[in-house]
Amino acid sequence: MSNPCAVIGVGQTRYTTKRRDVSIAGLVREAALRALQDAGLTWQDIDAVVIGKAPDLFEGVMMPEAYLADALGAAGKPMMRVHTAGSVGGSTALVGASLIQGGVHDRVLVVAFEKQSESNATWALSTHQPFSASLVVGAGGYFAPHIREYIRRSGAPEHIGHLVAVKDRQNALKNPYAHLRIPGINLKMVESTPMLWEPIRYLDTCPSSDGACAMVLSSAGKLTDSTPAWVLGTAMRSEPIFRAGRDTVNPQGGKDCAADVYRQAGITDPRREIDVAEVYVPFSWYEPMWLENLGFATEGEGWKLTESGATALDGDIPWNASGGVLSSNPIGASGLIRFAEAALQVRGMAGEHQVDGARRALGHAYGGGAQFFAMWMVGSDRP
């Protein structure tokens, strides 16, 4: 049995297209200071720092753990970097949690960031190496075929993705940190945006954001006056991107990861036992796909849950009450934001997008070619 771990502080920056007023160091510090303030702590109270960001080519910053040690008060303390592509924010939280659960430290600061305005993700993901045997076409071109295959298998009508695109942006209007805020967002607006990678339209995709997110994790013995979100389960899985018979629509790694985290948290029926989920949905169609992958719906039925409104803020299982990745996407931080928003919900601190009475929440991230998965369950009651 591992030691209990709780989130006692959350800090976010307002996600936006360009944060020209701060350096990368200033950006992560802003999130970290807010997390410390939420926890009622100072830099001196932190034992170790874990940082995550997207691959180095994104901003050309190698070894952010070295560059950002001063900004994160890590001098003289253990500091490490986590590196699992788009799921890195989630993995960062889990590595931090494991340091508490394993009894190594009592208080760990976890931070993740991306300053997309200083980089170009599409360039970084398609560097056109010589001798490549495969056509690499960037994230949209990579994921669009899997979405098409999902639609074929499930028979989902074509407006389902647009429903998610609208729903998450409506939620974003209630989140002061959200990047995309589109007043009056509706289906017509989504349908009128250009088709980028059929079947993905412009508003079916996530924005490019600057931003950072941080959390203070604590052992049970070192809580502060701040309301804790208890970690009920943590799991990571990965799978090779090139494996014969790999199901890219409903990846085994995701199913296994969910089963593991549910087992630890004692969840047998996620749809009924989880109050709110923050799930990594960078393209709108990934909501119905992950509804199935994460066991909220049986295979082929996820889109019906979306269509019924069950995943809306006033539905029985709200997904991405914060607006999700579709509304804010500082890539390296996006997974950590999911984990942090799940914690805010069970702490009752999500503000206008709070799901009433949320006691158990799922945080989820995935990355690479849907090959890295990171999840945690958090709850208001100590396990």
């Binding site: 190496q129 045997a133 495969s134 071109g141 990678w197 059929e198 494996r243 014969a244």
Partner: protein, 301 residues
């Protein structure tokens, strides 16, 4: 030369006082210009405590004389408002596009009009922080400041890493095949799955693979994207990037589909590689122009 045509009778005439007018500055403006010559900007205090920059001799609010107190301001300031000059005229302070701006220097209560050398109109905005660019030779004139320039807020960090890449044993073997118009794959001795391109170990079983298999250049489109964003490797937009499972293999490759309108591509469609002429082939995937429909009936997926 005056014209002899009475309807266009016209002549140039310049009025210029020989040597230029002399002006007595008075003590207030004189102090301002003297400080400019020394590379400083000063304002003058009014009785009400406001700092006027540039200084005036008489407080416009009250009509009283300003005090004799001068205070150094700036040198940095904030753009309050601006107008872009796209085509500078003779007599303008700069010979390239610039902005006339109202600049409130730090510590001043009024704004100064000066030129901002911002490079591009997009760089201008209210709130822009600027600093004076001084002339080396100063004479005590407002043009001792050649112009204001934005503060440094960004740098360009040029990163370039050069590699010498070799494709490795497995990919070399595959590309040798491609040079000869053949796809080389392999069969795992553990799970019997056929992989293409050729590889040396099985990602499922973790064992070495030794059995080489030549794979046909026909296959089935399992799924695809219609890309509406241009790509240097695609001949046009929209283009189709497809997962193509070559016959007898267990894993799809991603490749272009051509020879068919993008919106006519289907999941289950049968395709065949279109090879470039033999004499143009190299050890590269560019030997395959794209995959084109074979015309066979679609496959049930």
């Amino acid at each position: 030369m005056p014209s002899s045509d009475p309807t266009t009778l016209r002549a140039r005439h310049a009025l210029e006082f020989p040597g230029g007018y002399t002006r007595t500055t008075g003590p207030v403006i004189g102090r301002f210009l003297t400080e400019l010559r020394d590379g400083r900007v000063v304002g003058v205090r009014t009785a009400a405590g406001r700092t006027l920059v540039p200084p005036l001799e008489y407080d416009p609010d009250t009509g009283d004389a300003v005090t004799e107190e001068f205070v150094e301001v700036g040198p940095a300031g904030t753009v309050e408002s601006w107008a872009w000059v796209n085509t500078p005229r003779k007599g303008h302070p700069l010979d390239r596009p610039f902005a006339w701006a109202l600049i409130r220097l730090d510590g001043a209560d009024t704004a100064l009009v000066h030129a901002v050398d911002a490079g591009d109109v997009k760089a201008m905005r209210p709130g822009l922080r600027v600093r004076p660019r001084w002339r080396a030779e100063r004479t005590g004139h407002i043009t001792d400041i050649e112009s204001f320039v934005p503060e440094v807020t960004r740098i360009v960090s040029e990163v370039r890493v050069e590699y010498s890449l070799r494709p490795g044993l497995a990919l070399t073997r595959f590309l040798q095949g491609v040079a000869e118009g053949v796809f080389i794959g392999c069969r795992c001795g553990g799970c019997h799955k056929v992989y293409v391109p050729y590889r040396l170990s099985c990602p499922e079983c973790g064992v070495s693979i030794t059995e080489e298999v030549a794979v046909p250049d026909t296959g089935t489109v399992t799924t695809f994207a219609i890309n509406n964003l241009p790509d240097p490797r695609a001949p046009e937009v929209p283009f189709v990037s497809a997962y193509i499972q070559l016959d007898g293999t267990d894993i799809p490759m991603i490749a272009l589909v051509g020879g068919i309108a993008a919106h006519e591509v289907r999941q289950g469609m049968r395709v065949r590689a279109v090879w470039v002429p033999e004499e143009e082939r190299t050890m590269s995937m560019s030997n395959i122009k794209w995959f084109a429909p074979t015309g066979e009936p679609d496959v049930e997926l």
